[in-house]
């Protein structure tokens, strides 16, 4: 900054003052955004006697796991719903990866007839709001016995994520240097071998991104689960939440609600914090195309 005087805007604040202002704004934004999350976690740790106190206290008088013990025994027990959500999410991840990896490979490296047309067809399914397709899918799934089934819901969630996944895998495979596969081809390796030994290791970040988005979408998806998972033992976590809030006895059990909200948020927050890099790059490539 050799031209320090020129750096100062004519009518604005000095550089130092602006630095402090930015820091203060950042801290205010962080506090504001974290506040609901922190309040929710603290509320979930209140002792039972304090959960319905009017007016509410900001901080629990002591920390207690009573609310968590209570939701552990809620209806079928919260772990049943957590397991349902986890099974559906795992199936969604497997389906997305199993479909998008070979499809991306074909788009990136094979002279498939009508290739660009197929690609546009797959991407254009993003234009159709899935909320509109739930009526026919419900009819189809009830005929196939796929309502109240984790596989049925996983198919719906895969349908949501597939266009993005195929798009991302095509890009990831196209970025693999041609020289590497040519070396493998000279050695007489089959296409399946090349995919496994050359392409998949090099496109691993893309696969992680596909799996990450599949997980978050599936774990959080609401209306499809609400309609398809029409039996209590098949509920996923978001659907169980609606049961807690409508209350078994006509009134809301706030403590149980807080604890289950925290349980529903935690996996996504942890996965995001661990894999933030993949999430943001995936989001940008998906939106920017």
């Amino acid at each position: 900054m050799s031209t320090a005087t020129l750096d100062l805007p004519p009518h604005g604040l000095g550089r130092r003052a602006r630095g402090w202002l930015v820091a203060a704004l950042c801290i205010a934004v962080i506090a504001l955004m974290l506040l609901p999350l922190v309040m929710s976690v603290l509320a979930s740790l209140r002792p039972l006697a304090e959960t319905s106190q009017v007016p509410p206290t900001y901080l629990p008088s002591e920390l207690s796991l009573e609310n968590y013990r209570k939701v552990a025994a809620y209806q079928q027990g919260i772990w049943v719903y957590v397991r349902n959500s986890a099974v559906v999410a795992a199936m969604t991840i497997v389906l997305c990866v199993a479909l998008a990896v070979p499809a991306g490979y074909a788009f990136a490296r094979f002279p498939v007839p009508g290739k660009e047309l197929w690609f546009v067809l797959i991407l254009s399914s993003m234009m159709i709001p899935y909320q509109a397709l739930i009526v026919p899918l419900y009819l189809m799934f009830s005929r196939l016995g796929l309502t109240a089934s984790p596989l049925g819901l996983a198919i719906l969630h895969t349908m949501l994520q597939l266009p993005f996944s195929v798009y991302l895998m095509r890009n990831s495979f196209e970025a693999v240097p041609r020289e590497l596969e040519e070396a493998a081809r000279v050695d007489g390796a089959s296409t399946a071998f090349q995919l496994r030994r050359v392409f998949i290791p090099l496109a691993a970040p893309g696969i992680v991104t596909v799996a990450l988005f599949a997980f978050i979408t599936s774990w959080n998806e609401f209306i499809g689960a609400l309609i398809l998972m029409n039996s209590e033992s098949a509920f996923t976590v978001p659907i169980m939440l609606t049961g807690v809030v409508s209350g078994d006895f006509g009134s809301v059990d706030w403590g149980a609600l807080q604890a289950s909200v925290v349980i529903s948020m935690l996996p996504c927050l942890l996965v995001y914090l661990a894999l933030q890099k993949y999430y943001v790059s995936g989001l940008l490539s998906g939106a920017v195309k």
Partner: protein, 292 residues
Amino acid sequence: MSSRRNAFVGLAWLAPTLAFVGLFVMWPMVHLIWLSFTSTSLLTGKGEWVGLDNFATAVSDPRFWAAFRFTLLYTAIITPILMVLGFALALLVAPNTPLRRLTRTVVFLPVVIGLASSSLLWFWLFDQQVGLFNRILVDAGLLSEPMVWFRKAETGLAAVIISVTWKVVGFGMILIMAGIQSIGTDLFEAARIDGASAWLRVRRIILPLAARSIGMATVISIIGSMLAFDQFYLMTGGGPRGKTFTSVYWIYQSGFVRFDLGYSAALSVILMLVIMAMTVVQLRLQAMRRRP
């Protein structure tokens, strides 16, 4: 390997995805259009061909129009809020410093949690008895006593908008920030040396050059708002007196609460056409962006 054999191998790799899209996207879409011309009931699964009756009913159904108007109102209010805040946050966090990176991460946190989780979290915060948001407003002297947010449609809508803004503002921020970061630093340097004020730099350089990413974030957020369901289902339940039903909520209500799948399908077809038109706008913006 001959290219013909290559074509077959490629098609084989592609076949499962094409079959999946055909079976679970294209076929249901055709089925949906067919259903919209029938009186199919959820209870019996049977129905007759009724031609355009369902669409005629929709056009003359005041509840359909009320839901559509309410969805437009929600979209018209929340979109500018999200874009202005998203742009302001993007300006704040675009430079790469540790504190700004931390701010980005925190603002983005609520984006990854479920809309159901955040809606119920805020449903509690807004509660007139046990809600801490009310307590904060009272303690800050902004309210004389806790407010019953969900008794009136207007305040219920305000509560939903506050909660959804908290939940998704980070999404617009990230998209717009990427747009700002792609502007070359030499432009800023030139402007700075010319003595342009911060405000002038925002208005004359950042705003025009980030316009496409703002445009895209706007369209994505409009489409998302037009499809709103979870937040109203969980926070207002469509009430009071059905005043906060959105389009998707009304489709759900018609099909799965009133069991009229044919009518629900007709509404879905209308929604699909509206959203498709918007997506075309989005794709146009993306095509513009791709050009240098």
